[in-house]
Amino acid sequence: MKATQVLVPVASGIALGALLLPGTALADTTVSPSTTPVGGTVVLTATNCNPNSGDAIFHVTGPDRDQNVRSTTAAASGGLSAELFTAGFTLGTYTVAATCGDGTPDGSATFTVTPIGGAQAGGRDGTGGGGTLAVGATLLVTSLGGAVILARRRRHAAQAATL
């Protein structure tokens, strides 16, 4: 068997492994939640960083932002994490790239800063025709009362005339 006949499948296997490994081993930065109204807080976590190697640095880039955030706590699920307050952030999508204390990159993730709450998309007049309707109904009731009083007076007058 020639050497090339052995080397080709081995080389192919190594190349395939190299293609598959990064997807499973490197994407270890997480942001939770991945969507937050402006002013909310997101938790950045670098799950593969060893706390004994020093703080992790989260590099946050977005529409008008380029800042580093240092990890503050060891995450319960492993790795290092930091809280990021989004007050004053421009709306849009941000990328977070983590680097461990020993200088190794720990992948990246994105999060989106959104408007607060729902949309105030109604513009009708709050009173509508309700006020007019109420005034009209009041006038109708008043006129009905007046008609009753007039009818009673007429009946009394008629009875008095017959006595």
Binding site: T93, A119, G123, G129, T132, A137, S143, A147, L150
Partner: protein, 202 residues
Amino acid sequence: MRGLGRLLVTLLAVAGLALVGVGLARLPARPPQPDGTGPPPQLVTAPSLPPLLRADPVEVRIPRIGVRAPLVPVAADRAGALEVPPLDRPGVAGWYRPGVSPGESGNAVLVGHVDAPDGPAVFFELGRLRPGDTVHIARADATVVRFAVDAVEAYPKESFPTDLVYGPGTAAGLRLITCGGRFDQGSGEYVDNVIVFATRTA
């Protein structure tokens, strides 16, 4: 004296009838509400179409409810709430510019008034849409992107589904937002948001 009383009662009755008539005519129409049919938005499988490059949308067309409206860019107001187009242009809808444009990967967001002081506005009939209805978006690069409605839902404003509307997605989605539900006379606002969830089909 009795004649004066009769005249007064008659005048009151005529005025009352007239005001009741005017009041009834001015009572605003209630916008149609979604019936909650269709799959939950997050369970919809999107067709695999290559995403488009970013381009500003310029017009939205919704044949089922006769909407053909220009689009203006909107973002958020000082309080951080989603902007809506000015009320003096009730026939215009807004495109949320900090998000993706229609046809890109992710959810593009459009917002429009349900009504205005003078009557129904651009998205008054949004609650009538049903799964399968189409929405066409004309873009500044002369392309027209077509979406199919997946679901139409009403959500209380205090529990607005931020992630479903603005959240990331691999497919090109579209979200149309307006007001709906009960009108709260105290706050002068509707209590719900009606949201149309759609996915690009062409």
